[in-house]
Symmetry: C2
Subunit: 252 residues, 2 copies
């Protein structure tokens, strides 16, 4: 490592609410020279980076997203000029954030890289409804997955249905009908509590709480769209004002 | 809700490093009247609660742990006296933190309760080694589980092995031999990268990185003990200084 080479921090900004930033993220932002911020991250986090140049990357409305390779080259170039670079992502950099790819690209270029974890939406967003993703006797764990994978195939929904864990699905809205069908086919009960939560932890949060059998119709009726999280499992029955524990026991 | 009734915040303090506290947690602590803190939480977080009375609960070394029902009754009593109570837990309150149970007890008593999420060890701790718990083409998701459940039965390890997700096991050190045996029996390759990480994100962090076949022997040789996290899956191969992506592809 040359003494005049900078460093890149891959920072998780949490699910939406800028107050869910960590103290460590705030400290790094305070001395960052450049901030590369994803479009989905609330601009409120930038108050912590008063001296940084801000570059917006990532998906923007209907426009094309910044290519991943372009972002990686930019980080390498900025670090080689000696800059401290804060790469700010929604949620956690290592949970569907492509942080692993960026870490590898930086390592290949000999650039020092440090990860500052953030609260992932899959855990922080259900909490806003009083839904614990794990709960003794109800949900023995939690699985975070995306609906699509690089090769175009979906996850093994039958295996997931048999884990006994709460299933949290990121970026799954377009495939909700086939996800529900696959889980039902694997033997998951129709009455399993399920939710779709749009823009969780922000002032624009909206959600529907339904069952596995009715979720898609209800989410469509409420016109919920991306970015949204799908949460499926008996623990969703704890959602504020919904089922009681005794009712849940019959579903689990 | 009576006007003179207090409120309880269930706060996640993150995996160990007090800098992983969120800004929201810090704000709540600043105006808390009473802090109920778990023994595993770093006392460094208490600098943010200068005006609070501090009550230590939870497991302490070899001593008996504070009964859960006692903690719940204490929270109800304090809130009824009008206090703002900050209940501080390690990790996230809703990921194996019994936060769900405390939320239900408070709701049953008519006490207002708000959850402040924290970074769960299962995601934040592997990151210290450069391990992304999800990674395109390598780990299509992540599953967080405990080794034991209330009824004494373990999770369905065969189903978990077939999810294609990184497996993160909390509180599993005593059952490591049977966990590894069950995953191998389910067809998970012997060479699957695997790690045990003790006291992650703290200055006392230690770990071994091995394979599913050798993890237990290596963890024993290194005398690793609780609290520790077990991480199993191809993504563990990214651990700093270990395998490269090409090698991982053969394992995945």
């Amino acid at each position: 490592m040359k003494r005049d080479t900078g460093k890149v921090y891959l920072i998780g900004a949490g699910p939406g609410d800028p107050e869910l930033l960590t103290l460590k993220a705030v400290r790094v932002l305070a001395h960052a020279d450049v901030v590369l911020i994803d479009d989905l991250v609330d601009r409120g986090v930038l108050v912590h980076a008063p001296r940084a140049r801000v570059i917006e990357v990532g998906k923007r409305g209907g426009c094309k997203s910044t290519p991943q390779s372009f972002i990686e080259r930019m980080m390498v170039r900025l670090a080689r000029r000696g800059h401290v670079v804060a790469r700010v992502k929604g949620g956690d950099p290592f949970v569907f954030g492509r942080g692993g790819e960026e870490m590898l690209a930086l390592a290949a270029a000999g650039i020092d890289c440090e990860v500052v974890p953030g609260i992932t939406a899959g855990i922080g967003v259900p909490a806003t409804l009083g839904v614990p993703v794990t709960h003794r006797g109800v949900a023995r764990g939690v699985t975070l997955v995306t609906a699509h994978t690089r090769d175009g195939a979906g996850p093994d929904w039958a295996a997931l249905a048999h884990t006994g864990t709460t299933l949290v699905i990121y970026m799954g809205m377009r495939r909700l009908p086939e996800i529900a069908a696959a889980l039902l086919a694997a033997g998951m009960p129709q009455m399993t509590p399920a939710a779709v939560i749009e823009q969780g932890t922000t002032p624009r949060q909206r959600q529907v709480i339904a069952t596995l059998a009715t979720l898609e119709a209800q989410a469509r009726a409420a016109q919920l769209g991306s970015p949204a999280l799908i949460v499926i499992g008996a623990a969703v029955g704890f959602a504020r004002g919904l089922a009681r524990v005794e009712e849940l026991a019959q579903v689990a």
